[in-house]
């Protein structure tokens, strides 16, 4: 088990390295270096540009030097928690994003939990009552859930909420709770706001999970051990829940791996539509204003979180499934 975790961790570190190169490449992509546009911006607003400040910045980021030198300077800062400076907000990047990243994590985590809570009973029902009305309904709902783009679903939800209840969905907190400490009323306030994005984010994943769970469970239910259990007179719910469901759950855990990237992607766009204080809208804004260190840091951190999430799901899977723990790979 330890060997497995170590192997996976090494693989993760390599992936993180690759991720950081990609993120840095994106920082570098826009034509011209950002200092020139920074200086242009400053002079446009009539600010004095102190040549020493410029010289300092040039040194700090290694501008004008080869790619790998710039990368080395950037990444050594990142490792120490210094993600560079946002030119638009004139503040360190880290200060700007950590709160928003927390919100992102919160919403995405809730979405994962909701996905499982919804997909598990429906998936089991659809497999046990195969070809029943409920099964067909679940299948149809699943297909629609997969085909409706996240942001379109969010738009419709917003529209319906406005027409039916006269409320505008959006944000994660009411103004009075925006900067308050966590307390019961604040949690309640959060939940009244968060249900919409969580619902939107969870749909497509839920649909996929139901499909996988149903297929796996159908395979398991045919196996002789289920027949044996039934023949021994176990109550039906025990026959199903005790063994086949546990086996069919494995893929559910492993899905976190491919679900997370989709979830993070989805949350970026849903957050923009619903105007959530998460990393998504800030990423979009920083990209349109070419605030590249901010954008790069957000892309890097979102990807890093995804990679870590995948690692956790790998380890969880190995914990519950000895075939993977002791397997060849």
């Amino acid at each position: 088990m330890l060997a497995f975790i170590i192997r996976r961790t090494i693989a993760m570190v390599l992936t993180l390295f690759a991720v950081s190169i990609v993120a840095f490449a994106i920082i570098q992509l826009p034509p011209g270096d950002f200092l020139t546009s920074y200086i242009a911006n400053l002079s446009a607003t009539g600010d004095q540009v102190d040549p020493r400040v410029i010289e300092n910045l040039r040194n700090q980021y290694g501008l004008g030097e080869p790619f790998y030198v710039q990368y080395a300077k950037w990444i050594s800062g990142v490792v120490q928690g210094n993600f560079g400076h946002s030119f638009e907000w004139k503040r360190p990047v880290w200060e700007l994003i950590w709160g928003r990243l927390g919100n992102s994590l919160l919403v995405e985590g809730l979405a994962v939990i909701v996905m499982w809570l919804v997909a598990l009973p429906i998936g089991i029902y659809a497999a046990v009552r195969k070809y029943s009305l409920g099964d067909y309904l679940a299948t149809i709902a699943g297909f629609i859930g997969l085909a409706v783009p996240n942001f379109f679903f969010a738009l419709i939800l917003m529209y319906l909420a406005y027409i039916w209840f006269g409320t505008t969905l959006g944000g994660l907190f009411s103004p009075e709770f925006e900067n308050a400490r966590w307390s019961l009323p604040r949690i309640w306030d959060f939940l009244t706001h968060a249900w919409a994005p969580v619902l939107v984010l969870a749909t497509s994943g839920t649909a996929e999970l139901i499909r996988i769970l149903r297929a796996n469970l159908l395979d398991e239910l045919k196996k002789p051990y289920v027949v044996t259990a039934r023949a021994k007179g176990l109550p039906e719910w025990k026959v199903i829940l005790k063994y086949p469901v546990r086996l069919a759950l494995n893929p559910l855990v492993s899905t976190i791996g491919w679900l997370l990237p989709a979830l993070v992607s989805g949350s970026v766009i849903v957050s923009v539509v619903l105007n959530l204080p998460t990393a998504g809208p800030m990423l979009l804004r920083s990209l349109t204003t070419q605030d590249m260190y901010l954008a790069g840091a957000i892309i890097l951190l979102l990807s890093v979180l995804t990679v870590i999430g995948t690692l956790i799901s790998d380890i969880l899977l190995a914990l519950i499934d000895p075939r993977i723990r002791y397997g060849a790979k």
Binding site: I26, L29, P30, A147, V148, M158, Y162, P261
Partner: protein, 384 residues
Amino acid sequence: MALDTQVQNMSSLDSPAASPVRPARESQFGLMWRRFRQHKLAVVSLWVVGFFYLVALLAEFLAPMDPSDYSARYTYAPPQGLHFVSQSEDGGWEFGPFVYGYKTEIDPVALRRTFVIDETVKLPVRFFAQSEPYLLAGVIPMSIKLLDVENPRDPFYILGADRLGRDLLSRLIHGTRISLSIGLAGVTMSLFFGIVIGGFAGFYGGWFDSAVMRTVEFIRSMPTIPLWLGLAAAMPKDWSALQTYFAITIILSLIGWTELARVVRGRFLSLRTEDFVTAAQLDGASDWRIVTRHMVPSFTSHIIAAATLAIPGMILAETALSFLGLGLQAPIVSWGTLLQDAQNIRTLATAPWLLAPGVCVVVVILALNFFGDGLRDAADPHGR
């Protein structure tokens, strides 16, 4: 018994003149088609997909107006619909395509001018009406449109108008062309990379294979939207419409090739150990010949199915990028740029018909998915 008939068959093969019954043969695609037809949903989806691509092809003919024609007099005019039968005031029936006119009302709360359908005014509509000359699909000169109001000064907004009084239906039809073609173009490019890279990896294996597979895994473990956004934001703002279009295609296929490469590699791996490939190798056929003559024909259908299933992802991605304002830019009309107008709740509340492009997205994605599923099942006519 079975052996007997077999022997008989063999003898009949030896002397074809002796047997009057010629063995029936069906081509690979004949078998596939027969199997595909059993999948009712897939056949319906094929019609839907075909319909949308036809709309994309005939955009100029079908769209009643130019997608960029604006009219300040009819901002956010609601959908008129298209009517064929109505009862006039004296109780008689009136036939013929027509739309209702508008009357303006002042919203007492917002003090804003709003349009209401006025059922007393009927504006006749003509099929195959004369129009300004145009080039269909940029090639065929024509001067007939499918639909138009008889009096060109009358408003004609079957699906309503947008913020600038542009006809949503016309924009939707032109957007169909862009959105669907970008899906095809993106998949074509992904397919090219996927076949070349996946093919090499699958055929030669070894370190190249593992390098490719690690890369694919890596790309697939990244959240795509932030990556796409980052790449799209790097596009220079002064690029022309065509340049952005191709840049977006390339950006989409940078990630899109991975899935197809995996499929191609998988097929190569499973075919490489097949007897007929070994036989060809022993016969001294070159690698190129083995790949193109023996392997590719046996998995073309799989690749087509996989490519079809990849189109929805491309369309969704383009829509999402353009919706966020980092994909295609304003003068280009696509479903994504159209939905961009519907981004805030105030607009949605006054003009919910602006969500129509989203409905098109959902329908096309569903149809392409069912169609692709049907193709995938049919791709292996001998299986199951």
